[in-house]
């Protein structure tokens, strides 16, 4: 997608302003202010419990932030319900895979299409040409998506019967079916072996290119993070402790302290 090269650096697709989440007395995320250039792949890293998934939940409408704002293409979206955020063009995956287990692979992806559908189920009662056409078109589109993630052969299988790696790819295909412009991946490489992680990196780059996406991902596998992210944000105990290109983050003493503890940073 040419946009990555041609758009100016200040073309920001999503921006968070002092995003803060408090659970009772616990400050989960404090003043998270970040901006994401269109077409970029950004990583959100930090030790367990740093507030990464909480950030995802605030951006995607699962949590209403205690304070702060999220601007998506200049439009404030913080506090919108999750389905409206998705409709606006932001999709996500989950750390613990959440598929529709009793449904087939194809049906899982079709569910992602429903919010772009124009005909109602009432029309399918009498087989109107419009609803039949739309249904055929959406099925074809979903099969293409499955093809893109390498699951086309398994379209008729039950989602729960897929192996782990395939389930992760199905979750991504399902998210892509909603036609997002911004995609959040929560630990996409979790539970993958080195070869699978390698493949994943190529896959993430490929879908960015093919679907014109901006991607934000949470990941613990540093090889993946350093390999595909162009920019990193580092959280620790809810605070943003660093941000910058991967090479700079790698040697940032504050980040090393957060990950490894005090002694190692000074050693």
């Amino acid at each position: 997608m040419p946009t990555t090269q041609t758009t100016p650096a200040d073309d920001v697709i999503l921006e968070t302003r002092e995003l803060t989440m408090r659970f009772g007395g616990l400050l989960a995320v404090a003043d998270f202010s970040a901006s994401f250039p269109r077409g970029s792949i950004t990583g959100l890293i930090g030790p367990n419990g740093a507030g990464k998934t909480t950030c995802f939940n605030m951006i995607t409408g699962f949590y209403r932030p205690t304070s702060g704002e999220v601007l998506f293409e200049g439009v404030p979206i913080a506090g919108l319900p999750a389905h409206k955020v998705c409709r606006a063009g932001i999709a996500r995956t989950f750390q613990n895979i959440r598929l529709f287990n009793n449904e087939t692979v194809l049906e899982n992806v079709m569910i992602g299409r429903h919010l772009r559908q124009k005909t109602s189920w009432l029309q399918t009662l009498v087989f109107t040409p419009a609803s039949e056409r739309e249904n055929r078109r959406d099925q074809a589109r979903c099969l293409e998506l499955l093809d893109a993630v390498g699951l086309a052969d398994l379209a008729g299988e039950k989602a729960s019967s897929l192996p782990y790696g395939a389930q992760r790819r199905l979750e991504i295909a399902r998210a892509l079916a909603t036609e997002p412009r911004f995609l959040l991946l929560d630990e996409p490489a979790a539970g993958m072996n080195p070869q699978e992680s390698e493949d994943l990196m190529g896959f993430v780059r490929a879908i960015r290119q093919a679907f014109g996406l901006t991607i934000l991902l949470i990941e613990h596998d540093m090889k993946v993070v350093m390999g595909i992210c162009e920019h990193l944000w580092v959280l620790d105990y809810g605070q943003t402790i660093a941000s910058g290109p991967p090479e700079a983050i790698r040697s940032d003493p504050k980040v090393i302290t957060a990950y490894l503890g005090e002694e190692h940073a000074h050693a």
């Binding site: 998934t53 939940n57 699962f62 949590y63 989950f94």
Partner: protein
């Protein structure tokens, strides 16, 4: 309404309220621990009353002995129901145990119909509970003093068990987190059994006193009080024993006082509780004192 009637109404409310509260405690304890609405609880209430009737008419036991025995038998029955119908479903989807409890409820109710017939039966009432006494010129039914007092004693006993014994500590631990309780060596299954036993004993006591107050026995007598007591538990905040007591008393007062002040609404008295339930669930589903963890994303 004159003062005497008003006092009688207060006593009636307290009586009805304590009866609801005793049953509500059983609902709230089981829900607190297993997240299960135990539909069969209302049949436990009914059977407690029938067991006293049996003890007196068939075995000719003295009334107090029959009462204590009936409470013990009913408590064992409550434990048995859990072991047979709910325990195998601990790992199943939550609604399975609920459906099982609906099945047990219908089962017990119809077993009662088979054995006792559907016709209402008279209840033996000791004379000292029935003959009105004069307190400062107000005619008072001793029963309306006896029921709240006995209920109070039972509740204090319960508070002692829950807050001063090891089993009680186990109950509180399980209601916070059943998985961790297993890991910490809490004898979970035994504590759950004790919980069912206590809850059923209180329901039996309530059922027995209910039969004294509204002197009739019939197999469906538990259904409506059971629902109302559950609603009381929700109103007070499910999982909270204090909440169940407050909820029960509140419901008793609402019911008696509404009928006392607006006799036209008497026909709707069974609907009050359900309207209250729906209102509570809409406005504050956690009830007065309850807390419920949010779904994790």
């Amino acid at each position: 309404m004159n003062l005497a009637t008003f006092i009688q109404n207060i006593l009636n409310s307290l009586t009805l309220g304590s009866l609801y509260a005793l049953v509500a405690i059983g609902y709230t304890m089981v829900y607190g621990i297993l997240r299960l609405i135990n539909f069969a609880h209302s049949e436990i209430f009914m059977l407690g009353a029938y067991f006293v009737f049996w003890g007196i008419t068939l075995v000719h036991l003295p009334w107090p002995v029959a009462m204590v025995l009936a409470i013990l038998v009913t408590a064992s029955l409550g434990v048995l129901v859990d072991q047979v119908a709910y325990r195998p479903l601990r790992d199943a989807p939550r609604i399975s145990a609920l459906i099982s409890s609906i099945g047990v409820s219908f089962f017990l109710q119809n077993v009662a119909i088979v054995f006792f017939q559907a016709i209402p039966r008279e209840v033996y009432r000791p004379a000292w509970l029935e003959d009105p006494i004069l307190v400062h010129g107000v005619r008072v039914l001793p029963l309306t003093l006896f029921v709240p007092l006995l209920s109070l004693v039972l509740m204090l006993l319960l508070v002692y068990i829950v807050y001063r014994t090891k089993t009680g500590l186990g109950m509180r631990a399980i209601s916070k987190d059943i998985e961790t309780s297993y890991l910490m060596g809490v004898p979970v299954n035994r504590v759950i059994a004790v919980t069912f036993g206590i809850g059923s004993a209180l329901a039996a006591a309530s059922g027995i006193m209910w039969a004294l107050r509204y002197p009739q026995l019939q197999p469906i007598m538990g259904t409506i009080p059971g629902f109302k007591a559950f609603i009381a538990a929700v109103f007070g905040g499910i999982g909270s024993i204090q909440g169940a007591v407050i909820g029960g008393l509140t419901l008793g007062f609402i019911e008696i006082m509404t009928v006392a002040f607006f006799p036209d609404l008497a026909g709707y008295r069974d609907a009050f509780a359900f309207v209250l339930l729906i209102l509570v669930l809409m406005v504050k589903p956690t009830g007065l004192l309850g807390e419920r963890p949010e779904d994790k994303v």
